[in-house]
């Protein structure tokens, strides 16, 4: 579980996050949503320690993440996997070398064991046999899946995904969403996803946090979205006229409220 309280972050005199407090539960897909500039990426970077907040606390279970010793931080980092928006695969390494990198760096596994682990991860993301390919030879969706394989290779307890569906078609996005959800349940991970994709919200949103102007303005699950009275949430989720008509039709047909 990850718990944050009283997080405040500003860049110069511009506050980006104001008094953010919430919990991210294990075994669930936690989604952070919001308009561009709402502070989603900043919150995700704070959670993984790429930037530090001005105020507030972050706890990984009982561990105070902001005051952790360097040695303990390294141990904790090995329990963290992250999928980046652009996949962040190392261009000069093959798919196998990319996935094997954390194993090479942090484990004493034999070459055979590492190879087996890499193949297991590739199999898990349905990409068997592409070990020798370079990232530039893969499609966007495949790169994301390789990114997921690398993120899970050390069996992490925490998985962070920054815009996992950006640049992907709706069908591939669904595949990625399902994959992340399944992996979360299989490994009982605490998964935090930063997304704009409303399909993801409605498909895998077990704990959805809406950020608006640096504050949490709504929190709930996908089933509670339709019945919510929160105007900001509705403006965001049903932004297009088509979706608004769909929602009105659903309500008038008695599906919700």
């Amino acid at each position: 579980m990850i718990k944050i309280s009283g997080i405040y972050k500003s860049f110069g005199n511009t506050p980006v996050l104001k008094n953010i407090s919430t919990e991210f539960q294990p075994g669930k897909t936690n989604l952070i949503i919001g308009k561009s500039g709402a502070g989603k990426t900043v919150l995700l970077k704070l959670l993984v320690g790429l930037i530090a907040p001005n105020e507030g606390q972050i706890f990984y279970n009982q561990i105070d993440f902001l005051h952790i010793k360097k040695k303990d931080l390294r141990t904790l980092r090995m329990k963290v996997g992250m999928l980046f928006q652009g996949s962040a695969l190392f261009d000069s390494l093959t798919v196998e070398e990319n996935i094997r990198f954390p194993l090479d760096m942090f484990t004493e596994m034999t070459k055979k064991e590492k190879s087996a682990r890499v193949n297991t991860c590739l199999n898990r993301v349905s990409l068997d046999g592409i070990n020798a390919k370079f990232p530039s030879e893969l499609s966007g969706g495949m790169q994301k899946r390789v990114g997921i394989a690398r993120a899970i290779v050390l069996n992490p307890s925490y998985l962070f995904c920054d815009e996992p569906n950006s640049g992907l078609d709706p069908k591939t996005s669904l595949v990625i969403d399902e994959l992340i959800k399944d992996i979360t349940i299989e490994n009982n991970m605490t998964t935090i996803i930063n997304t704009h994709d409303m399909n993801s919200v409605m498909e895998i949103g077990e704990n959805v946090i809406l950020l608006h102007e640096g504050e949490i303005c709504w929190q709930g699950n996908k089933d509670e979205i339709m019945s919510s009275d929160n105007e900001i949430l509705h403006d965001f989720i049903f932004a297009s006229p088509f979706l608004q008509r769909l929602r009105n039709a659903a309500i008038s047909n008695g599906f919700h409220k």
């Binding site: 090995m78 963290v80 992250m82 980046f84 928006q85 962040a88 261009d91 954390p102 760096m105 942090f106």
Partner: protein, 248 residues
């Protein structure tokens, strides 16, 4: 304002170097990277170092022969001057200035590109000390391989001097060799290696610092690459002066 900015950069540079030279997570991974960098810097720079040294030696010999024309200074001094100019100044300084352009800009672009593509963030999140993994092998490889390149440059440069002066009849081969053997001070060779070590450290660490701290897009990456070369060159010349003051 400028002094504050300079001190700010100096502080950040020293902190980065402190992090870069901390204990590696896994020595074997760093060892592999050092070997790769030694190959890239050493073998990759051999041709350019060879060409530049050959011409520098040749030009030094011809220029000095021109200066000697009509004087009472014996011709074998051409060999002596080519040797000492090469060992004391030209081989370490010119080679490292050239390497700042070739190797330094490459390092700044490589690390800066990794910063922009979030590769460094990805490594940080994995728990890798990115300063150490990305910078230490480059600096270690450079301080091992660049003195060797400088020594090669010195030999080639003297060879260049020989080629430019002996076959063209400026002096005989015997005279050139006599000049090479005259007034030889092994201390100068020591100075050459001290210079090459210091310059190697400066050019790699400054270039890595520039790349590591890239913010923004391709224009900023280009600027970082240029800054890496310009600042490395200035610092090499400054260090050259200081070493000359201290060691002579």
């Amino acid at each position: 304002m400028v002094i504050t900015k300079l001190l700010n950069h100096l502080g950040k540079y020293l902190i980065l170097m402190g992090n870069a030279f901390s204990k590696p997570e896994k020595t074997s991974m760093y060892y592999k990277e050092v070997i790769r960098q030694m190959h890239d810097i050493g073998v990759g720079s051999l041709i350019i170092v060879f060409i530049i040294s050959l011409f520098i030696g040749a030009v030094t010999a011809i220029q000095f022969a021109y200066q000697l024309d009509g004087t009472l200074v014996p011709d074998y001094y051409i060999g002596y001057v080519v040797r000492d100019m090469t060992i004391i100044e030209l081989a370490p300084t010119i080679t490292c200035l050239v390497l700042a352009g070739k190797v330094g800009s490459n390092m700044a672009s490589e690390i800066g590109g990794m910063r922009q593509k979030e590769h460094i963030d990805a490594m940080e999140i994995m728990g890798v000390n990115t300063a150490a993994y990305l910078i230490m092998p480059k600096v270690l490889a450079a301080v091992v391989i660049i003195p060797i390149l400088v020594a090669i440059a010195a030999f080639v440069s003297i060879g260049g001097g020989f080629i430019a002066s002996v076959p063209t009849g400026l002096l005989s081969g015997q005279e050139f060799v006599m000049g090479l053997r005259s007034f030889f001070m092994p201390y100068n060779v020591f100075m050459m290696f001290v210079k090459s070590l210091v310059f190697a450290f400066l050019l790699t660490s400054i270039s890595c610092y520039q790349g590591y701290n890239v913010k923004g897009g391709s224009i900023e990456l280009g600027k970082a690459s240029t800054n890496a070369v310009v600042i490395s060159d200035i610092m090499i010349l400054l260090a050259d002066y200081l070493i000359a003051v201290v060691l002579i």
